[in-house]
Amino acid sequence: MRTEEQLALIDEIRANLRLLIEQTEVPALYECYKMADMNLHWAKWLQGEVDEIMPELERKTS
């Protein structure tokens, strides 16, 4: 898979994760989703795609 395709897929997953983070009422699941989002933010960072230095800032501005 090309880098561009990987990055697009990460964006799609993160958009879905954002919904889960916002809507879950279970602390245990909230932490799971947040960790997943953090790692995907990192995967983008390591591939040179950066908007903000931490995922929380992106969630705040979206």
Partner: protein, 461 residues
């Protein structure tokens, strides 16, 4: 059949992250500018320290359009800035950029310059910090299938914890050795059969020596790699690399870390220097006197901006480490494009030595000795290396001529106590007769370095 976590073809890769580690300089610089803009904006919006500091000098993050502009226009910071604010408003001063309840881990520096610096990390910070080590692990052949033995207790220092974060992130086995004495570490190594030893270089040699005293040769043990930080190690000093390799019959590696910044530079696999982790840091070399950037390959201070520490951002932060750095035409030949520090740290612009694993600034010891009534201006700090490979510092001092001989012993004990209380190290103190030191020298030689030339940093020889 047991579950396997890694595919063999991934384990056989030469790099932990090849696209990043071999990224062309132009692309790296383009990325740095993007990240720096993001960090500057973040710090200005969230850290009172930076907003105040930058507003005072009329700097605004939007002023930065190029990397050159960043180096020239962003005010330099150093540890003293942060210490001052932390002392005034403990525990973190105005330097935090996140809410306190967002902090997941607190470390501190050793306090060898006086007061320890508190270092807050978010969870994400710790994950990124740990990963920095992995680039160096992977480069010399360490893999997730390895078993790490940690020959230290987990105190407050970032170095120990970050090595643990690294092994966890790598997915390797962690065998903690906390609580064991040196003999216990030998026994643990022999019985638990780790393949990687994590320790300071001097302590690793001490363990090997202890093993010999117990009748064991660790070069025949399960250890295949030793990895080190905290003191000049295998990528800094040839004699140390050769001795570590020989004692363990293994490949030794070194990480250059700066506690408050990151595990900034994992060792080059060719082991004559280290590469700055350019995913996590942006750095350049500054002439200590002028503050100007030096030319590639010239010695100067390593000035770093970390992308790791978001809890307490550190921007254009001078480490006072003297380095000889290359961004282009990297001489090591390992294939990595990341900024190369030949010989790692060559010295300190503020001259620091490492005594039994603790960083010590002779100038701070000097100031402490001066505090004690009854000590004359004639005293000397003598640095030597003991048989176990540990650096030692001894203080030889003349009392004031007026001090009665019966009080000399208590004077020595008082000096020892002041140093122990402030630096945490017990140093030998010897009181010698007034007139012992020659008075003819133009400048009194305060520090006498008796360590063999080959174990000193290049600029300290």
């Amino acid at each position: 059949m047991a579950v396997k976590f890694w595919h063999k073809d991934l384990l056989e890769k030469d790099y932990w992250n090849e696209p990043a580690e071999t990224m062309p300089r132009e692309k790296l610089d383009e990325l740095h500018l993007k990240k720096l803009k993001s960090v500057l904006r973040y710090a200005y919006e969230h850290s009172r320290f930076y907003r105040q500091k930058w507003d005072e000098v009329g700097f605004h993050p939007e002023d930065v359009k190029t990397l050159e502009g960043f180096k020239k226009n962003v005010p330099i910071t150093d540890k003293a800035d942060f210490l001052r604010y932390q002392e005034e408003f403990p525990p973190y001063g105005l330097t935090l950029a996140v809410e306190e309840d967002f902090i997941s881990h607190q470390s501190k520096t050793s306090g060898s310059t006086g007061t320890p610096l508190h270092i807050p990390f978010t969870l994400y910070d710790t994950e990124k910090y740990g990963e920095s080590w992995i680039y160096g692990f992977w480069a010399i052949g360490i893999r997730p299938t390895d078993r790490f033995y940690f020959a230290f207790g987990f105190g407050a220092y970032a170095g120990f914890w970050s090595a643990y974060w690294a092994a966890r992130r790598l997915g390797a086995t962690v065998i903690p050795g906390g609580g064991a004495d040196t003999e216990g570490h030998v026994k643990n190594i022999l019985s638990q059969k780790p393949t990687v030893l994590i320790a300071t270089p001097s302590y690793a040699l001490r363990i090997a020596e202890q093993a010999k005293e117990m009748g064991h040769d660790l070069s025949e043990s399960s250890i295949r790699f030793t990895y080190h930080a905290g003191e000049p190690g295998p990528c800094s000093i040839d004699a140390i690399r050769e001795r570590l390799d020989r004692e363990y019959g293994a490949v030794s590696g070194e990480l250059l870390g700066v506690a408050e910044l990151d595990a900034i530079a994992p060792g080059c696999p060719h082991r004559r220097g280290v590469h700055m982790n350019e995913m996590n840091t942006f750095s350049w070399t500054m002439a200590p006197q002028s503050g100007e950037e030096v030319r590639e390959g010239e010695i100067g201070e390593n000035v770093i901006t970390t992308f790791v520490n978001t809890a307490q951002p550190l921007i254009n932060y001078t480490t006072h480490d003297l380095v000889q750095a290359y961004n282009h035409d990297i001489p090591c030949g390992c294939g990595r494009s990341w900024r190369y520090l030949d010989g790692a740290v060559l010295g300190r612009s503020d001259y620091m030595v490492t005594v039994r694993g603790t960083n010590v600034y002779p100038s701070s010891v000097e100031n402490l000795v001066r505090r004690v009534d009854g000590v004359s201006q004639y005293f000397q700090l003598i640095l030597s290396r003991n048989d176990s490979g540990l650096d030692e510092m001894k203080i030889l001092m003349e009392p004031e001529k007026t001090l009665q001989i019966e009080r000399w012993d208590s004077l020595g004990a008082e000096v020892q106590e002041v140093i122990k209380d402030n630096i945490g190290l017990r140093m030998d103190v010897e009181v010698v007769e007034p007139g012992t030191f020659p008075r003819t020298e133009l400048k009194f030689k305060r520090i006498l370095d008796k360590r063999p030339q080959e174990v000193r940093r290049r600029l300290e020889r």
